[in-house]
């Protein structure tokens, strides 16, 4: 059963999904063994001595009605986060359907895909920070790194800790959970998408660029590399962010041009502009990293931004259903 269909039906309620897809699916049944294996209960048939549950192909490759050969595989890995990043991904609305239809298979996502263990995938979007007191999280983050070609820290918590930086335990219903780290402190992260929540458009752009990077021609690969480089540099730069970065990395460095992008980007309105410069209300700052990343003087690529017109047109074109 195609995830895309499943998702579409979730959104638009087109009747029973499994029934519909089984009816429409033409001949691919020979490759369907894993699916049928999953539906059959292996316990009844196997002798207890032969049972090796670990070897069963629990993780299924999603089947499409019209398989698109060169799609990339994307997973959403949920660490300690609020699911807001995932909601942002879904908030691409029909754009998400286009992405799932043409460019990416969602192979793992606790909320939207029925897959229990982290599979091999091209791109892992990791939401949330890692709780050191939770063994499962520790295992899964390492597993993610092992199984994903590109690990994307999705959102403030995964990149910089965000509000989980303020956690010190004692909360319901896991009072013993008190130590949280951005994923970059435990594994190597390739790309950062900061902000709380990251915007649907930024997630979309990264997904499309990842697709071009992995499946595109040379020219497209070059564009995708140029686009992703600043976000890769953010990932390489470290796991700490704060509104103070506007002071230490921009104003103290003599770079602020007073444009106000930081104030517009701040989710919690901790940044206001006073006499043309950012004023940071540090008590309000949640350490999501949006202000600094949005600043035109944190990174700016003439190669990419100079082509804003053609890139915007390209994105518009490829996102057509």
């Amino acid at each position: 059963m195609g995830l895309f269909d499943k998702f579409k039906s979730l959104l638009f309620g087109k009747g029973d999904v499994s029934e519909g897809t089984q009816d429409e699916k033409p001949v691919a049944s020979k490759q369907d063994e894993p699916v049928s294996a999953m539906h059959k209960s292996p316990v009844n048939e196997a002798k207890p001595a032969d049972m090796k549950v670990e070897q069963k192909p629990i993780i299924q490759k999603p089947k499409e009605e019209k398989p698109v050969a060169d799609k990339i595989t994307v997973g959403h890995v949920h660490m300690s986060g609020c699911t807001g990043c995932l909601v942002s991904l879904a908030d691409n609305y029909e754009g998400l359907l286009t992405i799932l239809d043409k460019y990416a298979d969602l192979v793992y996502c606790l909320t939207l895909a029925d897959v229990r263990h982290i599979p091999k995938m091209d791109v892992a979007l990791v939401e949330g920070s890692v709780c050191l007191n939770d063994e499962c999280s520790m295992e899964e983050i390492l597993e993610t790194r092992e199984n994903a070609t590109i690990v994307v820290a999705l959102g403030g918590c995964a990149c910089y800790g965000n509000t989980t930086r303020f956690c010190r335990g004692g909360q319901q219903n896991q009072p013993q959970h008190e130590a949280f780290l951005p994923i970059g402190d435990l594994i190597k992260v390739d790309v950062y998408i900061p902000a709380c929540a990251p915007t649907p458009q930024q997630i979309r752009n990264v997904c499309l660029m990842a697709y071009l990077l992995l499946k595109g021609n040379d020219e497209q690969k070059a564009l995708a590399t140029a686009y992703l480089t600043p976000l890769m540099n953010l990932a390489a730069a470290g796991t700490e962010a704060c509104g103070c970065d506007l002071m230490t990395e921009v104003i103290n460095q003599g770079l602020c041009c007073g444009c106000g992008s930081c104030a517009a980007a701040c989710t919690v309105r901790a940044v206001t502009m006073q006499y043309g410069k950012p004023q940071i209300e540090r008590d309000l700052c949640i350490k999501c990293g949006a202000c600094y990343a949005q600043c035109p003087r944190s990174f700016f690529s003439f190669d990419v931004c100079g082509q804003y017109e053609s890139i915007t047109n390209l994105i518009g074109e490829v996102m057509k259903p």
């Binding site: 929540a197 915007t199 041009c257 949005q294």
Partner: protein
């Protein structure tokens, strides 16, 4: 040519409407373009540098009527963080088609925001018309205040117009030109961030405009993008803007190119200088350009 960016056409132009010209800085292009775009629905509102609570201290504002646009006419030589309202324009004001005017750095910020909307949800597709203004440098308000009150010995509240041109910073009151100082006096009050700027004529705007290159009362206009071209041509057709060829106009593009080259090469060498460790610090200063 590289210093002037890509453009489809360049004109000598001014607003067709006397009301706009009465208090505009030069040709009134920004006001006229936005007024036309508002009237015809190309934009729902425009982010402009409006009057602030102190004289000549600009505050970004969202103009949704021509009257509000008129109130924001004229250059204020200080920082108006127009990008600060880019998200608010789509929220409190509910704009779907935003116009924004900005200095080259602000237009760069805008284009970065469209391609990397890190904290700007649902904003990128709502930018309808971005007008850029030529900019050599900008002054923090306190710096501008010092220039006017201290060096020009003029009460800032009495100033009717400020102007930079022909190597001088001029302050006008109702009695005409009150005081002029050479630009070299003003350099120390410039915003430090301007010294790493590599753009003079807002290369990434839909339309960029400024006084340099054309006679008094006119502006030089670069039409750059498809959106800019469509809007500009319609505004000319409708008589909101009078546009003439730049051929034979003195000082013309030669001067624009000269100033652009000067600014950019000077700032490039400053960035280079910052990159060297011996520049005061143990580690090189940060270079924002990738």
């Amino acid at each position: 040519m590289e210093y002037l960016g890509q453009y489809k056409a360049v004109y000598k132009a001014k607003a067709g409407c006397e009301d706009i010209l009465a208090k505009s800085q030069d040709g009134g292009i920004v006001t006229a373009m936005f007024a036309y775009a508002l009237e015809t629905g190309i934009i729902d509102g425009a982010i402009v540098a409006g009057p602030g609570d102190e004289a000549y201290k600009p505050e970004p504002m969202i103009a949704t009527t021509v009257d509000e646009l008129l109130a924001a006419r004229g250059t204020k030589y200080s920082i108006s963080p127009n990008m600060a309202l880019i998200k608010e324009a789509t929220r409190s004001y509910g704009l779907d088609k935003i116009g924004i005017v900005g200095t080259p750095c602000q237009i760069q910020a805008l284009r970065k925001a469209q391609l990397y909307p890190i904290g700007l949800r649902d904003v990128p597709d709502k930018i309808a018309l971005a007008l850029g203004i030529f900019c050599m440098e900008n002054f923090p308000y306190q710096g501008l205040f010092q220039m006017v009150e201290d060096h020009c010995a003029t009460k800032i509240d009495n100033v009717t117009k400020m102007d930079i041109g022909k190597g001088k910073f001029s302050v006008y009151t109702e009695r005409g030109v009150n005081s002029q100082i050479p630009l070299k006096v003003t350099h120390k009050y410039e915003q430090p961030g301007c010294h790493v700027c590599l753009d003079y004529v807002a290369n990434m705007a839909d339309i960029s405009t400024g006084s340099v290159g054309t006679p008094d009362g006119w502006s030089t206009v670069f039409v750059r993008s498809a959106a800019g071209e469509a809007a500009f041509n319609k505004a000319v057709e409708a008589g909101w803007i009078i546009a003439e060829s730049m051929d034979g106009v003195k000082p013309g593009l030669e001067l624009v190119t000269k100033l652009a080259t000067e600014k950019i090469t000077k700032n490039q060498s400053y960035i280079e200088h910052r990159n060297h460790a011996e520049h005061a610090a143990l580690k090189p200063l940060r270079n924002p350009y990738i």
